[in-house]
């Protein structure tokens, strides 16, 4: 079975197969042999590389929250066109999505506006925090998907910019 998982914008190709009572999980060309697998409710435990891991998890559709040794990993199944987070947008450059769920408090552009890299395209507010979404490129506003005062989800596309010249 093969999956493509995303963690912190890095993609991991994973291949799982069973060999007798063990599972072999191949991640980035390294094999992890998994034994003593127990999955129950919100906990999964297994042994690999000589160590037993007890991991709590929650799965919500394609999103998987995993906690291990006090650290949290937010992992997504990459089997759809995802809306990227800010970091990624700066590379991709034309889809401006909210980084968090919140209220769209300001949307100072309209379709057809010329914008410069760094211009504020939208301000989303949540939990007393304002997040400014800036244009990563020079370009023209091609499409606006939301209205001021609307509640937006994380990763929801708010504005699309048509590439002019990449600065």
């Amino acid at each position: 079975m093969r999956y493509r998982l995303v963690h912190l914008n890095a993609e991991y190709e994973v291949d799982i197969h069973k060999e007798q009572s063990e599972f072999v999980v191949r991640i980035r060309d390294k094999d992890y042999r998994i034994s003593e697998l127990v999955v129950q409710d919100n906990a999964i435990s297994f042994r690999t590389e000589g160590k037993r891991h007890s991991i709590y998890f929650a799965r919500d559709g394609e999103k998987i929250y995993v906690t291990l040794d006090g650290e949290y990993y937010f992992i997504e199944l990459s089997n759809r066109t995802r809306y990227g987070s800010q970091g990624e947008e700066q590379q991709k450059g034309n889809v401006i999505a909210s980084s968090m769920p919140g209220l769209l408090v300001k949307l100072p552009v309209k379709v057809g506006d010329k914008v410069k890299s760094g211009d504020t395209l939208a301000i989303v507010e949540a939990m007393k925090m304002q997040n400014e979404l800036r244009s990563p490129i020079d370009g023209e506003v091609k499409k606006i998907n939301c209205k001021e005062g609307e509640q937006v989800d994380a990763f929801q596309t708010i504005v699309e910019i048509e590439n002019a010249t990449i600065k």
Binding site: N42, Y65, L68, G70, Y72, N79, M127
Partner: protein, 500 residues
């Protein structure tokens, strides 16, 4: 003693206050916005009143609605908690006018300590050191230039009504001063409706040390020692501890005495905190008075054995402080970590949403002041604080380990939190040594990043979870009704639908 108290807040602090009330035999009256109809704090209220729509302005900042609830509920006093209206002189005044006791200082004292320039001059008069800089707000750029030259660069431009870093500008060379003043004024105007800014010497790598003070209505003043709050992200404290590793007994004594002087000079009653900056040469400077119970008050409770919220209520009811300064001592070491619904891997942006699974730590020396429960949908309208994890131990080393273990035991799934990030702070050499200042987060950025070591294990676990939830499900029925047995190898098709 009061019979009925309205608690004008939500979340963990509303619960904290309600518990103190119940222990004193006081009936608790809660308030809630329509976003909080199912919130945990209401479980601790004997009665509750809806005060408005989700936006804070419509509900938790809505003085009229809250005063109406207080009247309807027959409240004799109001505890404001922290944040929202806690330091709002107009709210204290509204209480004073209707004969309801505001559990906090008078509106007059609130106004005084809320004005940074006025409180600086009050404090200077009684001989407590302030950061060199302006004594009054001035408008002329030339005045700023003159004083900047006097105190020496770097300097900082600050909003008079400021807080939370808004309106602040650090200026390192004379040529940047004028533009910084203009920018600060603009930001101050936007944030606080008042463009007044002033100038101070900028202290490099300061430690943020604050002293907890109590003062009763007869003027008896006692301090409960310090809290070190230098671990901050975006000018917000996230880890606090007491005692501070930066103070020796003599410096502690001098700062404690100074804190009491500040509170007395401000004619301040009830619980208040005097904030200081401590520079690298162990000089301390008055910063401001926090005129409320603070988020980090539990660490003081753990080492001094004094229940601060109970003291607040008792003092407001006219009780005298029944212990002396010499009765108060620091025993052991306490650390607090603030658990936020936020994503440390994405610039600490807030993450409201549903808590799918929750397990909170417990045991020796572990205290959790929590505002959450499993299956609760954290609303997006308020501060992202979910709960506070406080540990106490015999000494600082044990306290750090206890905090680290308790963070391990603290499981919140379904939303992103800073739990892992806090644990990384506990493992940082500079924190363990106690050698840190307010730029700790920035200076240790690389050390605080999620380490790679376990990512592959987490990825492997996630894959197993996906696989198991597929295998655990019944064999899928095709739209044509044929039933297909599922084997791992037949699912390779997943691969194909992945985006390249």
């Amino acid at each position: 003693m009061f019979k009925r108290i309205l608690i004008a807040n939500r979340g963990e602090i509303a619960i904290r206050v309600a518990k103190a009330c119940k222990e004193l035999g006081i009936i608790t009256i809660g308030i809630f916005s329509t976003a909080d109809e199912n919130s945990k704090h209401l479980r601790y209220m004997d009665e509750s009143y809806k005060v408005g729509e989700p936006p804070p302005q419509a509900s938790y900042l809505n003085i009229n609605a809250i005063m109406a609830a207080a009247k309807q509920g027959g409240a004799e006093a109001i505890h404001p908690g922290y944040g929202f209206l806690a330091e709002n002189p107009r709210f204290a005044e509204a209480c004073e006018k209707t004969g309801i006791v505001f559990i906090g200082p008078s509106s007059k004292a609130l106004s005084l300590v809320g004005d940074k320039i006025a409180s600086r001059s009050t404090v200077k008069k009684v001989g407590v050191p302030i950061i060199p800089g302006m004594q009054i707000a001035e408008r002329e750029v030339t005045s700023f230039q003159k004083i900047a030259k006097q105190v020496g660069y770097p300097v900082i431009v600050k909003a008079s009504m400021g807080g939370g870093g808004k309106g602040m500008r650090i200026v390192r060379t004379p040529k940047d001063l004028e533009t910084s003043i203009e920018a600060g004024q603009r930001e101050a105007k936007n944030a606080f409706g008042d463009e007044t800014v002033y100038l101070e010497k900028y202290i490099e790598r300061p430690r943020h040390i604050e002293f907890q003070v109590l003062r009763d209505q007869d003027g008896k003043t006692v301090h409960l020692f310090e809290r070190e709050c230098s671990i901050q992200r975006r000018h917000q404290k996230i880890v606090e501890e007491t005692p501070s590793t930066a103070l020796d007994p003599e410096l502690r004594r001098r700062m404690g005495a100074a804190a009491k002087k500040v509170i007395e000079a401000s004619e301040y009653t009830n619980a208040g905190t005097v904030e200081f900056l401590l520079d690298e040469n162990h000089n301390f400077y008055f910063l401001e008075v926090n005129a409320r119970v603070q988020v980090e008050h539990p660490i003081t409770e753990m080492v001094t054995g004094v229940d601060l919220v109970r003291q607040q209520i008792m003092i407001a009811a006219g009780a005298k402080i029944d212990f002396e300064q010499s009765d108060i001592s620091q025993r052991g070491h306490a650390i607090e970590a603030r658990i936020y619904a936020e994503d440390p891997e994405n610039n600490f942006l807030p993450c409201p949403g549903k808590i799918v699974f929750l397990n909170e730590p417990a045991g020796p020396g572990v205290r959790v002041d929590s505002g959450i429960f499993q299956a609760w949908d954290v609303p997006p309208h308020y501060d992202p604080i979910l709960s506070k994890l406080i540990v106490w131990a015999e000494n600082r080393d044990m306290a750090i380990k206890r905090m680290s273990d308790a963070l391990n035991d603290y499981i919140i799934l379904g939303i992103k939190t800073n739990l892992g990030y806090l644990k990384r702070i506990m493992g940082t050499a500079k924190f363990i040594k106690g050698e840190y200042h307010t730029h700790f987060i920035d200076e240790n950025e690389s050390k605080l990043r999620l380490r790679d070591s376990n990512i592959n294990t987490a990825i492997a676990a996630a894959s197993l979870i996906v696989m198991e939830s597929k295998q655990g499900a019944k064999s899928p029925v095709e739209s044509d009704g044929t039933r297909q047995p599922t084997t791992p190898w037949q699912e390779i098709g997943d691969w194909e639908i992945c985006r390249r």
